[in-house]
């Protein structure tokens, strides 16, 4: 394992410290407990947006703190949900009195820790609503699982909910917009290689040179099935078809097409995937109205990508288009 780190035990702290210095115009980094908050938080008159989760998915979530998106992000240890004692203070820091929305990816650890944090914040008089993001169609039969995982669709939830909060929506409305995004977004991912968690030092799963994992999550978990290596177009079809089917996408609809890199795949390849995914969306008579291509929800240096499709209506499109100014997303 070769990594540009000093010590697995300090990598998250040092990285977030560096992040804070590089983006001091946007964010303030609070140490002990560790969280990242808008430099101008709390923003008066606005519902606060807080997200968080294990580190290793950068730029998620700290890279999305700023006007038009999150008010605070709570980074946990690598691939490990943060604890209530950091989430709760971040929640308080994001609160200007109109309540706070927790945006939580659906993993047992994240759900439980945010749950406790919400109780703690509530005890301090801050009203908290929670939206659980669960866009990963790779997890089928949610009756027999911990439920669908939250993956790249989280970016859309954070962006659009952020825009809703920005225009002055109250907590219930922001939560319901976030739920609407979640209900209309689906993702599925592939890994060509595993990632290496710094403290573990070994690949999170073993893949031979001619195998890939279809239906991976973003924590180095193995995927749903292992198949022989295939072409970009074939792989893209394996990701996109379940996404479109599950979404029940029909002709004439408008979508955001988001091809997300897992960290170790070159941008040029993500555009090859985008090209085919776009073909597939258009083959259903739907229209790609907005696009996003890049490394936004990563698994350290994992090679791979995911395809996310969000069904857009006029309001969601306007909120997606609304100004955003964060380290990783800006327009």
């Amino acid at each position: 394992m070769k990594k540009l780190i000093n010590d697995p035990a300090t990598v998250v702290d040092e990285s977030v410290e560096g992040f804070g210095w590089a983006h001091a115009d946007l964010v303030t980094v609070h140490r002990d407990p560790l969280y990242v908050v808008r430099a101008d938080a709390p923003v008066e008159g606005k519902v606060g947006l807080v997200s968080g989760g294990g580190s290793g998915h950068e730029p998620l979530h700290a890279g999305f703190v700023g006007p038009g998106m999150l008010d605070a992000a709570v980074p946990g240890a690598m691939f490990t949900s943060p604890t209530p004692d950091s989430i709760a203070p971040a929640t308080l820091a994001a609160s200007s009195g109109r309540g706070v929305l927790h945006i939580v990816k659906n993993y047992t650890g994240d759900v439980l820790n945010f749950e406790t944090a919400a109780e703690l914040a509530d005890a301090e008089g801050v009203e908290v609503r929670t939206v659980i993001v669960n866009d990963d169609v790779a997890v089928q039969d949610s009756l027999y699982t911990a439920g669908r995982r939250g993956v790249a669709g989280t970016v859309a939830v954070e962006k659009i909910a952020g825009a809703a909060a920005d225009r002055g929506d109250d907590l219930a409305s922001v939560a319901s917009i976030a739920e609407r995004v979640n209900a209309n977004v689906r993702s599925m991912g592939v890994a060509l290689s595993a990632c290496i968690v710094p403290h573990a030092g070994n690949p999170s799963f073993d893949l031979t040179d001619d195998e890939i994992e279809i239906g991976i999550g973003i924590h180095g978990e193995p995927g749903r099935r292992r198949i022989p290596m295939a072409s970009a177009d074939e792989i893209t079809e394996m990701l996109t078809t379940p996404v479109l089917d599950d979404l029940g996408l029909g002709g004439g609809e408008q979508v955001l097409l988001f091809v997300n890199g897992m960290g170790g795949t070159p941008l040029s390849e993500l555009y090859v995937v985008y090209r085919k995914a776009r073909h597939l969306v258009e083959a259903r008579g739907a229209m790609v109205a907005r696009s996003l291509v890049g490394n936004y929800v990563t698994s350290l240096e994992m090679q791979g990508a995911s395809v996310t499709v969000l069904r857009l209506d006029a309001e969601l499109m306007a909120l997606w288009d609304a100004p955003v100014h964060t380290a990783a997303l800006r327009w």
């Binding site: 604890t83 650890g109 406790t116 027999y144 911990a146 995982r149 999170s204 180095g220 978990e221």
Partner: protein, 213 residues
Amino acid sequence: MALDVAWAVRWVRLTAGLVTEHRAYLTELDRQIGDNDHGENLYRGYTAVVARLDALEGPPAQVGDVLKLVATTLMSTVGGAAGPLYGTAYLRAAKVTGLDELDAGAVVAMLEAGLEGIVARGKAVPGEKTMVDAWSPAVAAAQAACVEGVDPVVVLEAAATAAEEGAVATDPMVATKGRASYLGERSAGHRDPGAASSALLVRAAHTAAVDGA
């Protein structure tokens, strides 16, 4: 013999030792069907627990005080699924152990409360390939061993053995809770990391009692 606050401190320190010793093993189990961090998470947590025990001015008064310290420390340092689950287990166990000494019945009550805490947070039932599959047989064995006048060591011995067997029994299970559930059938053939760490924890309680006898 009855189990006092010194036993509780020994128990917690022994658990920390076992977690440290098995850190890589637990992480490797989690690599197979999870996200490669369970040993690391617990190591971080119990290292903090030991540090807080060491930093105490005077010794805690009662068993429950020790368990409460463990609960709050794990909750604030472990994260992931195991942090809140173990944290709640210790918290509930602490509530029923505000005692100077635990007899066999109190030991059973403590284990029952721990299991209740895990189930209350995680909603898992036995057979879902989680730590519940270590705790649940441990509680049942403790209840069965708890006859009139029995030494609490005997109860803990029964619980520890049952927890270990319960952990082994997770091997063939297909996970339906936690991260391993995403693997579906592929989760079979691997031991659940949380069940394995739970077995260490209960065994430490027994060893601490034997050491003090």
